[in-house]
């Protein structure tokens, strides 16, 4: 067979399809990728070091700024890890409100993913539709805590404030129209021939490879492994919720699209249940004014829209700040699987693979 001379090119770090500042070193034989090496670190801010030098409360704002598309999910993991470290019991109403906002955040994050991923592949229209609904979710964030993107929504021990008046109306208004909106996106994509040509069978990652590489979230569920931390290790109010874990077995980009679309439906279901079964009571635990830790070491993982986000904290006796703060960023671990998916495929499919990973570089580089 005719063999071209190999060529090495850099994709990124300023390429729009890399969702930030990811650089991928590619070696090409014609249009086929023979070698792929993701290079990261362009957005490294030393979040772990900063949080080790700040008090338990102050560290939370940095978790917003790691993965700015799913700030609420990062907040939830952070406050729950701290509650586990300090041994705090949180009121039930706070758990419900956290679950509610977390699911809204999942919808917002998946909508960003849908818009940008479709745009990478060439379907520009979906982006505009997806951002229309995301705006409503951000309005709900704003109604709850005043900020839209970097929310700092929760506090260690519960919430800063209860739900504002009129919040229920906002939620019901959103839920009433959201399922028809999902149908709109699916009309644009699901049976679209170009979309299917670009995604079906592209960037496969089998279940064995995914587990070996530590891949979690929709990527793993699209390979047929029904591993969702909300079900496997329930936290917040997820043990009381009735929802399904959507899975596919094709393990390709199209399957990941289907899994994420199904997850948004489930999120809407959970939001409905939260609103229906919202218990009464306080939203903040009784805490001392100053939080001091004991010698302890915890790893708390939650299901962020991207996958398993884990916080590893070490507490020092009588200390105001964590002795060690480490984030297991889902994007960081998931990105390791890019060479496995891209090698042997076409260069155009690398963009589809990166898109299906749903990465945010702020979280990968920390």
């Amino acid at each position: 067979m005719f063999k071209n001379e190999e060529m090495e090119i850099n994709l990124g770090p300023q390429h729009p399809s890399t969702h930030g500042v990811l650089r991928v070193k590619l070696r090409l034989d014609g249009e086929t990728v023979t070698h792929c090496r993701p290079m990261i670190g362009y957005l490294h801010r030393g979040v772990e070091k900063i949080c080790e030098n700040q008090s338990f409360f102050q560290g939370q704002v940095w978790t917003d700024r790691m993965d700015y598309c799913s700030a609420v999910a990062n907040n939830l993991g952070w406050v729950e890890a701290n509650e586990k470290l300090l041994g705090i019991t949180v009121p039930r109403r706070a758990h419900y409100i956290r679950t509610l906002l977390n699911e809204f955040n999942r919808i917002a994050s998946h909508l960003i993913w849908l818009g940008t991923h479709a745009m990478d592949i060439g379907a520009l229209t979906v982006f505009l539709y997806a951002f229309r609904e995301r705006e409503d979710v951000l309005d709900i964030n704003e109604a709850f805590c005043g900020s839209r993107l970097t929310t700092t929504a929760f506090r260690i021990g519960g919430l800063r404030e209860d739900l504002p008046p009129g919040f229920e109306k906002l939620v019901h208004k959103f839920l009433a129209k959201f399922s028809s909106c999902l149908e709109e996106y699916e009309n644009l994509l699901t049976e679209n021939r170009i979309w299917k040509k670009r995604t079906v069978g592209v960037a496969r990652l089998s279940a064995e490879d995914a587990i070996a590489l530590g891949v979690t979230g929709p990527m793993l569920r699209a390979a047929g492994v029904a591993y969702d931390i909300r079900k496997a290790f329930p936290y917040a109010a997820y043990a009381e919720m009735d929802f399904e874990v959507p899975t596919r077995t094709e393990a390709d980009t199209y399957a990941r699209y289907q899994v994420r679309m199904a997850e948004m439906r489930q999120s809407a279901r959970i939001i409905q249940q939260c609103m229906d079964g919202m218990p009464e009571g306080p939203v903040m635990a009784k805490l001392p004014k100053i939080l001091r830790s004991e010698v302890n070491e915890v790893y708390h993982a939650t299901e962020s829209p991207k996958g398993e986000i884990g916080y590893y904290l070490v507490g020092e006796k009588g200390s105001l700040n964590p002795y060690r703060f480490h984030v297991r960023a889902p994007g960081f671990i998931n990105l390791q699987s890019l060479p496995k998916m891209a090698e042997g495929g076409l260069i155009a499919d690398v963009v589809a693979a990166i898109g299906s990973l749903d990465i945010v570089l702020g979280e990968i580089d920390r």
């Binding site: 790893y299 993982a301 020092e316 006796k317 390791q336």
Partner: protein
């Protein structure tokens, strides 16, 4: 297991040799506060601490009683009223929802199984905050990981997270390396831990769990622990020529390049040059970037 967490005498930190040299006396606000304790949780350490605390409490009470007896005898001899008998203080009840989890004895079947299989290679097993912890000898980590992955009763398929912590106050080791394993089929989590002294190179977990690749690179980048048989032991987040390991406790949070002047005011960089000179007078070694 290392020494229990004995608070060590605070020392004035010596200016470390290297790129970040500070004169601590001249610039006290830029001093690095080194940790004085070794916050490494462990059941045995916890028991020893509890025992010492109970004994100290008892000794204090006995001393109070003895003091009371002498005071009483003295009062009787002088013909005065006898003093009030002392009341043993009850530990103050905290009226809040916070109760720090303490280490507990290992009762989980997984930990007991691991202990039985590994024998004396296990240094400690305990549970804390509902998490299973097993500390193994640093040379036996690969064996322990292989057991966790392949043993039919354990089946921890995924290495979810790997991280390390720097303990400068510890005597026998400098860093702990932790492995967070997840069993997807059995819905369990387990933490393996090793204690590595300076210069020790732990075996890489890559042959067993390929996900360890980047996590070990990150540990090397951030804490300077090199792993044996790793396919690609290079820095991952910092540039290749970066000096120092940022997450070590002796790494400063303020370095050269910290600006006190806004760019807007500083047209032409004159103010910055003056500040650099001043900083030089303060004894801060402002290393200029290497020219390529």
């Amino acid at each position: 297991m290392s020494e229990p967490n004995v608070p060590q005498t605070p020392e004035v930190p010596e200016a470390p040799a290297g790129p970040y040299v500070y004169d601590y006396k001249a610039a006290p606000n830029r001093q690095i506060t080194m940790p004085k304790t070794v916050p490494l949780p462990g059941y045995r350490t916890y028991l020893a601490e509890q025992k010492a605390a109970t004994e100290a409490d008892e000794a204090k009470w006995q001393k109070t009683l003895a003091d009371f007896e002498t005071a009483k005898a003295k009062a009787e001899a002088e013909g005065k009223d006898a003093p009030k008998p002392p009341v043993r203080p009850v530990p103050r009840k905290d009226d809040n929802d916070m109760k720090a989890p303490v280490p507990q004895e290992a009762t989980d079947a997984d930990l007991l199984k691991l202990q039985a299989l590994l024998g004396d290679k296990v240094e400690e097993v305990f549970e804390q905050a509902g998490e299973l912890v097993c500390q193994v000898k640093k040379e036996a980590i690969l064996e322990a990981l292989a057991l966790c992955r392949d043993e039919a009763d354990l089946k921890y398929e995924m290495l979810a997270d790997q991280s390390a912590t720097h303990y400068p106050a510890a005597k026998d080791f400098t860093c702990s390396v932790v492995y967070h394993l997840t069993s997807i089929s059995r819905r369990k989590r387990l933490r393996l831990r090793i204690l590595a002294p300076e210069g020790f190179m732990p075996e890489s977990a890559c042959p067993l769990y390929p996900s360890a690749n980047w996590m070990e690179r990150e540990i090397y980048d951030m804490l300077g622990i090199r792993f044996q048989n790793h396919p690609d032991m290079t820095r991952i987040l910092c540039p290749e020529d970066w000096e120092g390991y940022p997450l070590r406790k002796d790494y400063p949070t303020v370095g050269w390049g910290q600006r006190d002047i806004s760019f807007r005011e500083d047209r032409g960089g004159m103010l910055e040059r003056i500040a650099l000179q001043k900083a030089g007078q303060l004894g801060i070694n402002l290393k200029q970037p290497k020219a390529d």
